[in-house]
């Protein structure tokens, strides 16, 4: 068995198991940790598919930045909170599971009808290194690439605006009154 297959068959079951683990974990922190394992496994798949640059980006951006952000928010909102698992819509759980299973079945059938499970794999003419990927990014896709930088700035500003606490507006009269009060307190203290 070639090394390629061995790596796939080691990491694919881990990916599926950790995804299912995320689905069933009560604690949001545990779910986030399972998701990090999943992202790591997917990054290994990128390595198998000749995409070493995306492998690095996946680990840095997803397993690093995004999951740290998630964990940060989970901690901020309190981790000891228990999820209310009562069904508000009758039969929602069954219907959801059926829909997910249907989606999996449909994708499997589509893959079988589309490209089939043939053992023949075309030899790789692909190198997904940073150098190879930079060429289309800075030539053909230069404009979209620049637009994404605008998108990231807009997202950062939007997050600041959405998450900031509204400071109460203070009128000049209130500020003067507060200053006078403080002055009086200081005078009393020095007396």
């Amino acid at each position: 068995m070639p090394l390629d297959n061995v790596v796939f068959w080691v990491f694919a079951p881990i990916a599926v198991a950790s995804a299912i683990g995320m689905l069933f974990m009560r604690n949001a922190v545990h779910a986030a940790l399972f998701l990090i394992v999943d992202f790591m496994c997917i990054s290994v798949m990128y390595l198998l598919l000749d995409a070493p640059f995306l492998f690095a980006v996946q680990i840095i951006v997803y397993a690093g930045a995004i999951m740290v952000l998630f964990l940060f928010v989970i901690m901020l909102l309190g981790v000891d909170r228990h999820e209310d698992l009562r069904e508000r819509l009758r039969g929602q759980r069954i219907a959801g599971l059926a829909l997910a299973a249907g989606a999996a079945l449909e994708i499997g059938l589509a893959v079988r009808a589309g490209i089939g499970f043939s053992r023949h794999v075309p030899p790789s003419a692909l190198s997904g290194t940073a150098e190879a990927l930079a060429k289309p990014l800075f030539t053909t896709y230069f404009f979209p690439f620049e637009v994404t930088s605008v998108l990231l700035i807009v997202a950062a500003i939007a997050a600041m605006v959405l998450a900031q606490r509204k400071a109460k507006a203070v009128t000049l009269a209130e500020a003067n009154a507060r200053n006078a009060e403080r002055d009086a307190r200081l005078r009393d203290a020095t007396k």
Binding site: P2, N5, L23, A28, F39, I42, M45, R112, R119, Y141
Partner: protein, 101 residues
């Protein structure tokens, strides 16, 4: 002999379905959001697999762009969850039902 591309696509389909189940079954807004991230990752995996199959780098470029957009989306989405939490002290999606008729 390399691993058939179809295996990667099936793995991506399974991960996507598990993500779908997470979105439909969980009540914690944060876990729902994590499931959406899993779905995005599954789609990226399919894109990279097709790029490998056709020997074309454009699939990888698209996966790269989708990662950037996902990062922006996570930032805004988490800010929305935090501001909803400030208002009603809950991240349970069942509690946000002011638009209920």
């Amino acid at each position: 002999m390399r691993t058939p591309i179809a295996f990667f696509l099936v793995l991506s389909g399974i991960l996507f379905s598990v993500g779908t189940a997470g979105v439909l079954l969980r009540k914690n807004a944060l876990v729902i959001f994590m499931s959406v991230e899993l779905q995005l990752n599954a789609a990226n995996l399919a894109l990279v697999a097709f790029a490998r199959m056709h020997g074309d780098l454009q699939g990888q470029v698209l996966a790269f762009f989708s990662m950037i957009v996902a990062a922006a989306e996570v930032v805004v989405g988490l800010a929305i969850i935090v501001s909803v939490y400030r208002r009603r002290f809950s991240v349970n999606v069942d509690d946000a039902r002011e638009l209920r008729g």
